[in-house]
């Protein structure tokens, strides 16, 4: 089983590495979704290096926690996280979106170790996560399901069908993390199609809701731990994130939702991320 890392400085350094990997991957692939993937580095670090019970050397371990990624377009961050956790060699990251690669443009179950579900069309992941949680519950297992969803996909009706079923079955073994980064392809979520008040909506649907800073790894871990102690309802962690976090020219810009960095963009981004890395290393924790 993967050893859990609790040292926040170490985790922040891992998140920084994952960001740099994502920038390089997307540049190499020449297409893909930059801002969302980079913005999720802290959450993915928290999940795979602290929260989840899993074993990169035994990805099909029956009692592992399941991670379902619903908004598949952010998969570069999942791939980079899996590689850094040891699921497959890091060199393979540069094959993203290329013919013959195990790293498909959107995740494909069965291609790559550690991928629990194929995804791409939005709104489908939560249903899959609910199905898994029902099995764990029926068989009295301890493994939990952690599902990542986006804010834009809350506009899909299927999400709310799944939310109702999770509450009906009181799925305390289901933790969902929503990437609340406020952008979608066509613009800002509240302009394209308002989805607020999200916390009230999920509470009304019978969920336990926690708001966190999606770049504060300690808060993310604490919220996941809190969800484990809520037995009678599923938990929605609304993680407020900055799209493109730590790459200044990408931050908060919906234009960066669906495009890759050019060579110049990549060099600038990596320089910025190296500077951030130095600051993390100098932190006295």
């Amino acid at each position: 089983m993967m050893k859990k890392i609790s040292n926040i400085k170490k985790l922040n350094l891992i998140a920084n590495t994952i960001r740099q990997d994502v920038v390089k991957m997307l540049h190499e692939a020449k297409s893909g979704h930059s801002a969302g993937a980079i913005g999720l580095a802290d959450i993915y670090t928290a999940l795979y290096f602290n929260v989840l019970y899993h074993d990169p050397k035994n990805p099909d371990w029956p009692d592992r926690d399941r991670h379902v990624l619903s908004n598949g377009h952010v998969c570069p961050v999942l791939y980079a996280t899996l590689a850094n956790a040891g699921y497959f060699p890091k060199e393979e990251l540069m094959t993203l979106r290329k013919p013959g690669s195990r790293l498909q443009g959107h995740p494909h179950r069965g291609s790559l170790p550690g991928i629990e579900n194929s995804s791409g069309p939005l709104g489908q992941g939560l249903s899959i996560a609910v199905g898994m949680a029902l099995v764990s519950r029926a068989e009295r297992k301890k493994w939990r399901v952690y599902c990542m969803v986006s804010d834009g996909e809350q506009q899909e009706g299927q999400v709310w069908e799944a939310a109702m079923l999770a509450a009906k079955h009181k799925l305390g073994n289901l933790t969902v993390i929503m990437d609340r980064n406020n952008i979608q392809i066509d613009g800002y979520t509240e302009e394209v199609m308002p989805i607020e008040p999200l916390a009230d909506k999920y509470r009304a649907f019978g969920w336990h809701v926690i708001d966190v800073d999606g770049h504060n790894i300690k808060q993310i871990i604490d919220a996941c731990n809190e969800s484990r102690a809520v037995y009678e309802r599923p938990t929605m962690i609304i993680a407020h994130t900055i799209p493109g976090k730590a790459v200044s020219f990408m931050e908060q810009r919906f234009e960066w939702h669906g495009k890759p960095p050019s060579k110049k963009d990549m060099e600038e981004a990596l320089e910025e991320l190296q500077n951030v890395r130095k600051l993390i290393e100098e932190e006295d924790i």
Partner: protein, 322 residues
């Protein structure tokens, strides 16, 4: 092929959905890794028999077919065999994207069952008559498509789907129809059943029209037309071997189905016929239209899908022979 003794005096009239429902109970008794889900139609789909006996392995998702498909995919990805059951227009109609990605692209053992398909849905009218379900399922990679002809065959199809690791779609009917196959009649995915041999024309049918085609063949014989009748219960993978054999033997193929002529079993057969430059063929079914309310019997008659209609269509098609 072992059919009932007095083929044209059937003792038992049952809807094929009953066979599916019975098979689920047998499967539940055999394995604890077997789950069934429905979307507010447990009685109509006959999944309520399973639900009564195995409540822990049964999930009622409410009127939410997209979620139905997704939840099933999640359960199946944990190594379970899952059946989801609803009306054809809703599943695989309403949830086609979920069937495509969550089920077929994930390649998990989720089997779809539709209880209300074809014209024989009857009085509910066009909105509920699934006439496009075969087109939209047979184009999906990994998916197997079956349309059993009676209750007995529906039971076998459900067992075959459970044993097969690929996703399957099973199409059954709500209408009571003659149970004319027997437990001894063979059933193998991808292998069509020849119920009547013939040398002038080969009728390929699936579902309710199979029995009607057998009746039509009797009448055609009186007119000097020797028709073979083939139960094409598996539409994907289509039984190329039997099509080639009967295309050569008869020199004319007529396909008959309660489905749009666009993309159904007829199209699947036509793909084989065209690629092999085989023989003339007629694709009979519903001709690119929404139908109407009426009893199953009235509608089959009006749209030339009962024995009388099939007889007429086959007779008319004979002039296509070279």
């Amino acid at each position: 092929m072992k059919l009932i003794k007095n083929l044209f005096e059937p003792e038992l009239l049952k809807p094929s959905r009953d066979g599916f429902g019975k098979a689920l109970v047998e499967l539940g008794e055999k394995s604890e890794d077997f789950w069934v889900l429905t979307a507010d139609v447990s009685e109509s789909t006959r999944t309520h028999w399973f639900a009564e006996q195995f409540p822990k392995m049964f999930v009622q998702v409410g009127v939410a077919e997209q979620n139905l498909a997704g939840v099933a995919a999640g359960i199946a990805s944990c190594g379970k065999t899952v059946f989801i059951s609803a009306y054809g227009v809703f599943s695989p109609g309403r949830n086609w994207d979920q069937v495509r990605v969550s089920i077929c692209y994930n390649n998990v053992n989720v089997n779809l069952h539709a209880s209300h398909t074809g014209l024989t849905v009857g009085p509910d009218g066009a909105s509920h008559q699934a006439l496009e379900d075969i087109s939209i399922t047979r184009c999906l990679p990994n998916m197997i498509v079956m349309s059993p002809c009676d209750m007995e065959e529906a039971k076998k199809a459900a067992h075959a789907a459970a044993e097969n690791i690929l996703p399957c779609y099973i199409r059954t009917s709500r209408e009571k129809t003659p149970v004319f196959t027997t437990p001894e009649t063979p059933f193998e995915i991808g292998k069509a059943n020849v119920y009547r041999d013939g040398k002038d024309v080969a009728i390929f049918a699936h579902g309710v029209p199979v029995y009607e085609s057998l009746k039509a063949a009797e009448k055609l014989k009186e007119k000097g037309i020797d028709a073979a009748v083939i139960d094409c219960h598996t539409i994907k993978p289509i039984d190329e071997k039997t099509i080639l054999k009967y295309g050569k033997q008869c020199g004319l193929i007529v396909t008959v189905e309660e489905h749009q002529v666009n993309g159904g079993m007829g199209s699947a057969v036509a793909e084989v016929v065209a690629e092999n430059n085989l023989c003339p063929m007629k694709i009979h079914g519903v001709y690119d239209k929404f139908c109407e309310s009426g009893s199953a019997k009235e509608l089959l008659h009006k749209y030339l899908l009962d024995a009388e209609g099939i007889e007429k269509v086959v007779e008319d098609s004979m002039k296509m022979k070279k």
